[in-house]
């Protein structure tokens, strides 16, 4: 270990922690799940209503107790199935093989989106 290694570790560590705080500290519970495929809006589903949604025949989304999770995907890696359920604003589940994003959006917070984008 050299001095520069420690500087690198500390700098990156601080950046990571700050980024984590920035993304999570001000997040509020979201209202709807936005389903985006290939960058195109596929549908919006309220988090408040428990339901199981089939998406394009490739994935299945489950909304239960105000949280959303992927319960089925036809891809081999199944990474999205292992992701924790999402409920907070801007949290997302991504299915890379099917180019699909499930993203929590807060309806009463449009100016937040404008800043991020």
């Amino acid at each position: 270990m050299k001095k520069n290694d420690l500087i690198l570790i500390l700098t990156v560590g601080i950046v990571a922690v700050l980024a984590f705080i920035a993304f999570n500290a001000f997040s509020t519970e979201g209202d709807v799940i936005n389903v985006i495929i290939d960058g195109q809006q596929y549908g919006t589903f309220p988090l408040g209503k428990d339901q199981v949604i089939d998406i394009n025949g490739t994935n299945t989304l489950e909304i239960l107790d105000n949280t959303a999770r992927m319960i089925h995907a036809n891809c081999p890696d199944q990474l999205c199935i292992y992701q924790l359920p999402i409920s907070k604003n801007r949290e997302n589940i991504i299915c890379l093989p099917n180019r699909m994003i499930l993203e929590v959006v807060s309806e009463d917070n449009p100016e937040y989106d404008a800043i991020v984008q």
């Binding site: 050299k2 520069n4 290694d5 990156v12 990571a16 984590f20 985006i36 992701q83």
Partner: protein
């Protein structure tokens, strides 16, 4: 001839590491976080041979491992990550200002950056940026572990290209 044989051995070793990683049944709930054992070999090849050889071994490893244990999509992500990572590491490893651990951590960070960039292009969305903090943190940890293991492998390979 000696060089070809040694590099062939390195590709094989990297493939074995890829296979061991597939066998580990633990799935983290965070997408994209992996130890990347095969990168031990890539770091060692970079130090012992150089950029060109590391790039070659890494590219062959990614393509073969992709067909054996993964899918074409995975090859695309891995190639972007590996290439960016080797370029970053090769820019600093000769200067002696960082140890092999620092070089490996930088490689891990750029590996994640490369994969994130491909994901942004494929998904046509910046949503994945949400994971950047976790990916940075995981790069620190995995990069350090890979660096330590690479250092050990270098010691065991005394006599090969010294």
């Amino acid at each position: 001839m000696n060089r070809t044989a040694h590099l062939g051995m390195m590709v094989t070793l990297a493939l074995i590491f890829s296979y061991i990683e597939v066998l580990i049944p633990i799935q983290l709930p965070i997408p994209g976080v992996k130890l990347g054992l095969a990168n031990i070999v890539i770091v060692v090849v970079l130090y012992k041979w150089g950029f060109k050889e590391a790039f070659l071994v890494s590219t062959i490893r990614v393509i073969i491992a992709g067909f054996l244990f993964g899918n074409p999509m995975m090859i695309l992500y891995s190639l972007a990550g590996c290439t960016l990572s080797i370029i970053a590491m090769s820019l600093i490893y000769k200067r002696n200002s960082f140890s092999i651990m620092g070089v490996s951590i930088l490689g891990a960070i750029f590996h994640n950056i490369g994969q994130t960039l491909v994901a942004i292009i494929v998904l046509e969305s910046f949503s994945i940026i949400y994971y950047s903090a976790i990916l940075l943190m995981s790069a620190l940890i995995t990069g350090l572990i890979i660096g330590i293991l690479a250092q050990q492998l270098m010691r065991m390979m005394k006599g090969i290209r010294d």
